[in-house]
């Protein structure tokens, strides 16, 4: 896998969005054309033609071609995002619970924990691959970092693995996006994206 979930998303998104807008404009123009051109006026006799097989076949082929393009791009990106076997990545285990998060750095002796009253903040080094192992200790949650354009479910008894790469330094907000009970609205966390040196200092300070 190369590139971040954010850049993966951006390229697929713009393809889908512009094709979608193109189709919407085309269809709405066709409706508008029919509404204006074929409105009832004195002397207008409606056509009796009710089949045009060539048009139906052409439309089917056209839509199939668009579907093929979209699915090809999606599969290509999906294959990269599913591959989370990067060596030398920063590893972070995430345990979601009602209603908070526990972030553990295996082998580092660092654990950050917080809940809906005091939200936790964990740190990652900018520009490096971060491998997450996500699970839950009670109900299903989902870990969403909108800035990364990515989320994954935290399911009790299962561990989901995924990689992210954080580019811009600063704080990225994250939250639970799967309804999990009373304090779901307040189940938030933050990611500090730091330079390598600051990241090492952060780790040392939290040991």
């Amino acid at each position: 896998m190369s590139g971040s979930t954010r850049s993966d998303f951006a390229s697929v998104w713009s393809l889908y969005l512009w094709i979608g807008i193109g189709v919407a404009v085309l269809v709405l123009c066709a409706v508008l054309f029919a509404v204006v051109r074929y409105r009832d006026r004195p002397g207008r006799a409606p056509s009796r033609r009710a089949e045009r097989t060539a048009v139906e076949v052409a439309a089917t082929v056209l839509i199939l071609a668009i579907v093929a393009l979209l699915v090809f791009r999606t599969f290509h990106t999906e294959a990269r995002e599913d591959d989370s076997s990067a060596a030398g990545a920063v590893r972070i285990d995430v345990d979601a619970f009602q209603w908070g998060w526990k972030f553990t750095y295996p082998g580092q002796g660092v654990t950050v924990i917080g809940n809906s009253v005091r939200e936790p903040n964990f740190a990652v080094p900018a520009g490096r691959r971060v491998s997450f192992a996500l699970t839950s200790s009670d109900v299903i949650h989902a870990m969403w970092i909108p800035g990364q354009r990515f989320k994954k479910d935290a399911i009790p008894g299962r561990t989901n693995h995924f990689d992210m790469e954080f580019e811009a330094r600063g704080r990225e907000p994250g939250l639970c996006s799967e309804f999990c009970g009373l304090r779901h609205s307040n189940m938030r966390f933050g990611v500090w994206v730091l330079s390598d040196a600051s990241y090492e200092r952060w780790l040392a300070a939290h040991r």
Partner: protein, 528 residues
């Protein structure tokens, strides 16, 4: 009392209609309360707990108790008339289905009367949140039982419609002469029969899990429940879509004064759509990491093909026609334009890398409200405005109907369009509170909800006023094409008193008019 026990399919359908309007208004009030709470960040009117009940019961009410029964109720009323039958097949089963549905709805809503309140584990009741430790209380049990009863009731009604199409067609009414709406109902009942029993079983298992335990346990239990739920949960989306495509198709053909374009292509596309609909449920589980995302992405994206054919046929029907913009036609055009946005954003969320961002966010809320509210409800209203004169013998007030259309269209877009941006910008669904930076778009959306409320009141006033002071409709006020317009308005107990016309196509009344016209032309050409 005789009305309540009557087995006439038209009266059973009227009961379904009244009950579904009741549950629509109830579930709509919950939505207005939610939008009031969401107009500003922070908590103003309701607690977190109450808010959870509100969105759970709003979604459950609209899907289990309003759009599904309303779609089937429309079929229960119309299918026997459209195929030239005197009665629905198994009329007492249909009536029993109605009572189960009503009982289920009242059971679900009665949760509000219990100590812990109504069900509050979302309309999907995901495990383990919905088990006895995640969501304790009688309200949640009532929710599970209510869903099982309502869905079972809908299943029984669908079976009677399916049997009617298979067994009670008038002589000459071959499968490829079924009206467009009846074809959409046939496809709908296929999906109902294949998927609804799975949900009834899932609800039975959920009750067992809550009271005995050991059903959905371990690392596989929660995923297994989702498979069962969405095996029902996706086909039901098209159960709430097909019949309204059919209603819109009938209205568009009638008000274009033209035969439905591409009838055979539509039939093929409906069947293809139906088959695919049973193979897309995993797209609700893209972020679980427990399904093969590529497979469900492929099947889901392929839905663009039959959906595209349906759009082509609707627009093809208008092209070359002589369009008359009565109220049902306006609602039909609203359906076509607005469902388009719901459908195209559906293609977007069928791509896992895109769904990874928007899943569980307001983008999804916007997407399915464009399909279900701006789409299906507008299609239902096209049908209601189109067939109201047939069912009651009275015309609706045309100017009020048109005004209500514009108010509803304005309200729907102001309410739901901002939600695309809210979701993209990081607002998750099912939260009573949000970041202050999202306040402006939420306020706009809440204002839109108020506009929708005004539009709904206008529709209701129109229905009541038109029933109070009747403006007689006659047998066929629109110059329509299908058999229900051959009989009186409202139709007699056994639907048809006069012998049926010859049925040589899906539009027998249009055939008659065209033959009369040809006869007139011949007389003009060959003067005596």
């Amino acid at each position: 009392m005789t009305w309540l026990a009557a087995t006439d399919h038209k009266k059973t359908a009227a009961k379904v209609g009244v009950a579904s309007i009741f549950f629509f208004l109830l579930s709509g009030l919950l939505a207005l309360t939610m939008r009031a709470e969401l107009a500003q960040p922070g908590l103003q009117f309701v607690s977190d707990h109450t808010y959870d009940e509100l969105f759970t019961m709003h979604g459950s009410g609209m899907i289990y108790l309003f759009l599904t029964p309303a779609a089937l109720g429309l079929g229960l009323y119309l299918v026997p008339l459209q195929v030239g039958a005197a009665e629905i097949a198994a009329p007492r089963l249909a009536l029993f289905g109605f009572w189960l549905y009503l009982l289920g709805g009242l059971t679900m809503y009665s949760g509000f009367l219990t100590n812990n309140g109504a069900g509050d584990a979302t309309w999907t009741a995901t495990i383990p949140l919905s088990n006895s430790s995640g969501t304790p209380g009688v309200g949640m049990d009532l929710w599970v039982i209510g869903v099982a009863l309502a869905v079972l009731g809908s299943l029984l009604i669908a079976i009677t419609i399916l049997l009617t199409i298979m067994r009670l067609r008038a002589p000459g009414m071959t499968m490829l002469r079924l009206p467009v709406f009846t074809w959409t109902m046939l496809a709908t009942t296929f999906m109902v029969v294949a998927s609804f029993p799975v949900l009834v079983v899932a609800m039975g298992l959920l009750i067992a899990e809550r009271h005995i335990g050991g059903v959905f346990t371990g690392s596989t239990g929660s995923v297994a429940y989702q498979h069962l739920f969405w095996f029902y949960g996706h086909p039901v989306v098209y159960v709430m879509f097909f019949p309204f495509v059919g209603a819109v198709g009938e209205a568009v053909a009638t008000f274009s004064r033209k035969r439905f374009f591409g009838y055979r292509a539509l039939v093929v596309s409906l069947l293809f759509f139906t088959a695919l609909s049973m193979a897309v449920w995993g797209h609700h589980m893209f972020i679980t990491g427990a399904v093969k995302n590529q497979y469900y992405s492929l099947t889901s994206t392929l839905l663009a093909v039959p959906a595209g054919i349906e759009y082509l046929d609707l627009i093809g029907t208008m092209i070359g026609g002589a369009l008359v913009f009565r109220a049902p036609m306006l609602f039909a055009l609203g359906f076509i334009a607005q469902f388009l946005i719901g459908g195209l954003t559906g293609i977007i969320v069928a791509s896992p890398p895109l769904d990874y961002h928007v899943n569980g966010s307001y983008f999804i809320v916007a997407h399915f409200h464009y399909t279900l509210f701006a789409g299906s409800l507008f299609g239902l209203l096209a049908g209601v405005h189109y067939w109201f004169p047939k069912a009651t013998g009275a015309m609706l007030r045309e100017r009020l109907a048109k005004a209500s259309f514009w108010v509803l269209a304005l309200g729907a877009n102001v309410t739901f369009f901002p939600m695309f941006f809210l979701g993209y910008d990081g607002m998750p669904r099912r939260v009573a509170d949000y970041e202050p930076r999202l306040g402006d778009l939420n306020l706009l959306s809440s204002i839109g909800a108020g506009v929708i409320a005004i539009g709904v009141v206008m529709v209701l006033v129109n229905l009541v006023a038109s029933l109070r002071r009747k403006e007689p409709a006659g047998d066929d006020p629109w110059g329509a094409q299908t058999l229900e317009w051959w009989t009186t308005s409202p139709p007699p107990r056994d639907n048809f008193e006069a012998p049926l016309p010859a049925i040589n196509s899906p539009a027998p009344l249009l055939d008659l008019r065209e033959r009369e016209e040809e006869a007139r032309e011949r007389r003009v050409e060959v003067p005596v």
